[in-house]
């Protein structure tokens, strides 16, 4: 039976989960996959983590060089996260002829061109299913199932922390700050939640997924990004009344006019399958020119679900002799011939603090109509609130710039209404 040695770099949540899965399933993999997968080495500064997992002291490496020169190690699993030292370690492993499995979205998003070059040069495998959406099999679906399609669009709830926060805000009516604190207490949000709540994490993943979907490099810098920190419980409740659920949506589209990639809070119509993806569940909704709509749903994070994706890659790597690489020109920057659309098409939810006088709706909609924006839904409250009444509109499809101009004009014009919030809408 073929023996395959694995080294794990980093024994945090995902590294620990990966070790546990490999350890507990070793006999199962021998029986089913005819391969003996053995963790030969780990690299972890906090030695106690390794010992707590029952890893023998002689398997704890002191540095990456030790792992690279260990002939028993065939596959290096990088689950450290962040750019450095992960990048240096991964390149060292590839250059030492080891295949690499990584869950590192920031690293893969920013440096896939360098990593892939090193992998090709050394004839090694480079696997990153776990970098996007944890246990949900989206990378391989794009590579090996949907690759006959021109992918027209993808929409994803691809960050568990923000989906947990928005679900709780929606269910309980609590404020962002309250729910964030609770999420931190429960371990669903980190002490410094910026990467999640400001949409960086989702944008890294969207950069990777859209590069693969559209077969051209979509650098992180091209992803429009807005987080959820300004979302008010009020907007979520009005959205519900209008038939929408609020999600931090990652959207990629490819059409004749170009490519658009954006991460922002979005009202999703309740009848859309993405609207019922709640709590820390994630999902990616892909539309291809042949397959039509496909949705892949599951746990986007967590020790075992992400470990499942890593171990899937390890077994794939251990049982295949040749490796394919991405089907896009993997460069640092975008291909100059690709046009990026920033004035994108969308429907919009706009909440105004309006004067409590007759005729305000008419004034507001007259400005909107001047900018070619037509109104689909309205809520006009009659109760006073700080001298102003809430007026909520949902528009038909229009363009980003039209909305910006209309909002500026309404805010500037005479004070009959001030724009309190603008949220994009997907039907």
């Amino acid at each position: 039976m073929k023996k395959v040695g694995v080294a794990i770099l980093g024994l945090g949540v995902v590294g620990g989960g990966t070790y546990k899965i490999l350890d507990e399933h070793r006999e199962f993999y021998k029986k089913i996959h005819n391969v003996d997968i053995v963790v030969e080495s780990v690299l972890e500064l906090r030695k106690e983590r390794a010992l707590a997992l029952g890893i023998a002291e002689n398997k704890i490496a002191s540095n990456i060089a030790e792992i690279c020169s260990n002939p028993e190690v065939d596959i290096v699993v990088e689950v450290i996260g962040g750019v450095e030292p992960a990048k240096t370690f991964v390149l060292a492993a590839l250059n030492a002829g080891k295949s690499v499995v990584t869950s590192n979205k920031e690293l893969f998003c920013k440096y896939s061109h360098e990593l892939e070059k090193a992998a090709k040069k050394n004839n090694c495998g480079l696997f990153y299913e776990a970098s996007c959406v944890g246990g949900v099999p989206v990378i391989r679906a794009l590579l090996d199932n949907l690759q006959g399609n021109k992918i027209l669009s993808m929409m994803g709830i691809i960050n568990g922390t923000t989906n947990y926060i928005l679900t709780k805000m929606s269910n309980g009516g609590a404020s962002y700050d309250e729910v964030l604190k609770e999420a931190q207490k429960l371990g669903y949000a980190e002490a410094n939640p910026t990467a999640d709540v400001e949409g960086f994490d989702a944008a890294y993943k969207l950069s990777i997924l859209s590069s693969m979907s559209f077969h051209t490099k979509i650098p992180f810098s091209k992803v429009y990004r807005e987080g959820i920190t300004d979302i008010s419980a009020e907007d979520i409740q009005y959205g519900k009344q209008l038939g929408y659920a609020l999600k931090l949506l990652a959207i990629g589209k490819n059409s004749d006019s170009g490519i658009e990639v954006r991460v922002h809070p979005t009202f999703v119509k309740l009848s859309h399958p993405l609207a019922s993806v709640n709590d820390s569940y994630n999902a990616v909704y892909v539309t291809g020119d042949s397959v039509e709509d496909v949705m892949l749903y599951g746990r986007g994070a967590g020790a075992l679900p992400t470990g499942s994706a890593i171990v899937g890659d390890i077994i794939y790597c251990a049982t295949h002799n040749n490796f394919n690489y991405s089907t896009f020109k993997n460069t640092e920057n975008a291909d100059p011939s690709v046009k990026f659309v920033t004035n994108f098409e969308s429907a919009y939810y706009i909440r105004f603090d309006a004067q409590d006088k007759a005729g305000v709706l008419s004034k507001v909609s007259s400005v909107l109509s001047k900018h070619d924006i037509s109104v689909a839904q309205v809520i006009q409250e009659d109760g006073k609130k700080n001298g102003a009444v809430p007026l909520i509109l949902v528009t038909h499809l229009t363009r980003e710039n039209n909305v910006k101009k209309a909002v500026d004009e309404i805010n500037a014009n005479g004070g009959f209404a001030k724009v309190a919030s603008v949220i994009r809408v997907v039907s």
Copy 2:
């Protein structure tokens, strides 16, 4: 650039869709996948189908031998359906050294052991993503993503025709016969709908999916099967009231007590992600010991979605040098050491035609309780209907045989209630 020749056997809905996708995307695949995929030959008795697709007359083969001996053909796509002549043709192609891509669930379910043996012997690829759930990437997810998991269970809505019928019955309150006729008119159901409505199609797919999930052969004969022809609009409406949607569910479970595989109408709790899979959409909900819950959702049938799965396999086959085979002992019959559970655990919806007298609920529940069945939900109508009133119960988890015994006892005992329908329930 590598050139890969394809032959398509059968130009029905799926064959035609496959041809169109390959034809329209030829330049795209050259650019993206660096491979020139050309349809070199087709086998189709109705020549006019080929001509209507714009296929040159000299590419229409007269018989399978011509395709097998054509050195330009590398991959044979079998989309004829049914066992013969598909089986003879596929074996001939494999024995001639051609790789095979098939969408044929009945063939693969019943003869995968023979086909795989021939593929291995001849070092050919054998791909069958399109055999299960059309464009939904479930086969590859089981093979290359979730293969590190012990799969605990899978539940699927894997037949589009029945899901279309049940969705329409649920929305409009029409009877099975009315909706079937409409579905036949619209092309959602065949003139002879038996394979779909009696659950054969779903059972073939469940046999394939559960064999792969549980890494042991699950023959078709082991799949318990009940169709939807006896479903009444009445039951669907009572189910709705109780918070359930009716689906033809394919269920596979693997536990210490054994394997259970079954296809039958099932009430699914509305909060479950499968409950909102409507119309001709399909979904498979897989639970693994590491990944937790994953759901794959999309079009389970249709020319282009199924064509997408076939073309995905063609491109995979064309761009890989080595092929892996199933990770289960692919035999004709079940491994004698595997225990199949038939007295399975479930909750049950039971509708009675009950006497319109006080004390009937007490009599019914007393018999149930004698068989260790406890009641979770009750609807007791007060209006008369043919001298009897409907009494509807949903039980807590119990066992199949307990319910059978209780039903027999109630039907036999004195006539205070007759069982009108029994439907299993998933929460």
